[in-house]
Amino acid sequence: MKRNLAIEVISGLLILLFVYTAVSKLLDFTTFQVQLSKSPFINAYANTVAWTLPAGEILVALALTFKRTHLLGLYASLFLMTMFTAYIWTMLHYSYYIPCSCGGILSKMGWNQHLWFNVGFVLLSIIGIILQKKQNLVYSKKPEKKTEELPPVVYTAMS
């Protein structure tokens, strides 16, 4: 029960995060595209990333919504959040130019705060994966229904 609740909470938070950030980007698409073009690492791919990133976030949010794709969604969340965290860290340590960060409430955060925020969600994704896998393991070990054995057929000679 507790495990179920924890998985639901983690998934809920991830869905909220991805839907919020995807919608923020799409609502102010031009600004998002311009900000991407200012990144030394993404400049060459800004137009592609501008579309695929919010689309990817929405797909991950959908995957987290349905039980069948839950685990896949958690792995995808881990992938995305690790990528974002690595991007921020690399920008802070190696980039010659740091543009403004992404939209919505997250734009109020500084780059360092954003980094720790992302690390938090990476950890949540990992915990979610472990808990989900454990739960899947438990369900896959449930005992099978016993079928009743019929007594052997006894033939008696008719007198």
């Binding site: 200012k38 690790t82 991007y87 543009p99 896998k133």
Partner: protein, 347 residues
């Protein structure tokens, strides 16, 4: 716990994370490769290490230099009505209160120039120039008639400016008390990008009587006389450096902004007695990455004779980064993010 479960989970999580990190690493490597390539020039270091004279904690509200005399240093603060003052040894610090009205537009973009005892607050977004003295009232001039971004004091009441004309920026010279304004004739590049690609820092040198404009994104210095006649362009030593800045208007927001990362070639500068000191962001081929990363390279140019004289390093101080520096008669005053430090001038 099931061993198979542990193995599968333990290996798959880091694999997913490694792929994600690997993707970012590839993007970063591709982007930074041109910067790490050879640049085709060598830096002539005049001395190994600067001699530190004094270091103090910087008050949080101190932003930039406002001026200096033989005995005092003046600093601009976040408040246009306050100037921070210390003596040349960074001691006996105090604030000068000015009779400047509190105004959002003034505070949004302003520079401060102290030409003792006069203090000028140049409010680029107003646009206007305010002149005052401690204890005196403030004279406000609605001048020039367009937004300006860079200023240099030539003489009392005479300023060189970099101001907007349409969607570009040009050089101008003006006197706020008479309203006289002289504009350049076909000197600045016009790219209809709000002057983003041609941005730089403007200086006036009394000794050579020249205005020097150090471009941030090009490896050249534009020199003008005080009537805004073009004198010459001096190339900086990083002869092969290119930084292509593209800008465009975002029509929806009515804003012109850059569409490419801004790669600075020249970050900051200071001028004194015919010598222009420039903090270059381009590593010379004879410099190690470590030396370049842990120091700020300052290249010295004789602007009268268009000569490169040599370079020195201003070090990173207690892991803190420099934001600007000023050359005075015998010292280098450095503003770091958390400290103010003076070094002996190595000339």
């Amino acid at each position: 716990m099931n061993l198979r479960f542990i193995k599968k989970t333990i290996f798959l999580i880091p694999i997913v994370m490694l792929v994600a990190v690997g993707l970012v690493a590839v993007l970063a490597w591709k982007a930074l490769k041109p910067i790490n390539d050879k640049t085709g020039f060598n830096r002539k270091l005049l001395i190994k290490e600067l001699e530190i004279m004094k270091a103090v904690d910087k008050p949080q509200n101190v932003l930039d230099f406002a001026g200096f005399t033989n005995h005092h240093l003046y600093f601009k603060t976040k408040n246009p009505a306050k100037v921070y003052i210390t003596d040349s040894d960074l001691q006996n610090d105090n604030y000068i209160e000015l009779n400047i009205p509190i105004n959002r537009k003034i505070a949004s973009r302003f520079s401060c120039i102290v030409d003792s005892p006069a203090v000028y607050v140049l409010a680029g977004n107003l646009p206007g120039i305010l002149k005052t003295q401690p204890g005196d009232s403030c004279k406000s001039y609605q001048f020039p008639n367009a937004i300006f971004t860079r200023t240099a004091l030539i003489s009392p009441n005479s300023f060189a400016l970099r101001m907007f004309e349409g969607t570009d920026q040009i050089f101008a010279k003006g006197n706020p008390s008479t309203g006289e304004l002289l504009k350049e004739k076909n000197i600045s590049e016009k790219n209809k990008d709000a002057g983003i690609s041609t941005d730089g820092a403007l200086f006036y040198d009394r000794q050579s009587n020249l205005l020097a404009f150090v471009q941030y994104y090009k490896n050249e210095i534009i020199c003008l006389d005080t009537n805004l006649n073009f004198v010459k362009k001096i190339k900086t030593i990083d002869i092969n450096s290119r930084s292509s800045i593209k800008a465009a208007e975002i029509k929806k927001e009515g804003v012109i902004t850059s569409l490419t990362p801004k790669r600075l070639l020249n970050a900051s500068a200071s001028i004194h007695n015919g010598l222009l000191f420039i903090n270059s962001k381009i590593k010379g081929d004879n410099e190690t990455k470590e030396a370049f990363t842990n120091n700020f390279s300052i290249d010295i140019y004789d602007i009268k004779n268009s000569l490169y004289k040599g370079s020195f390093y201003i070090p990173v101080y207690k892991n803190d980064q420099m934001t600007n520096f000023l050359i005075t008669a015998n010292s280098i005053v450095v503003i770091y993010k958390k400290y103010l430090v003076t070094y002996k001038l190595p000339l």
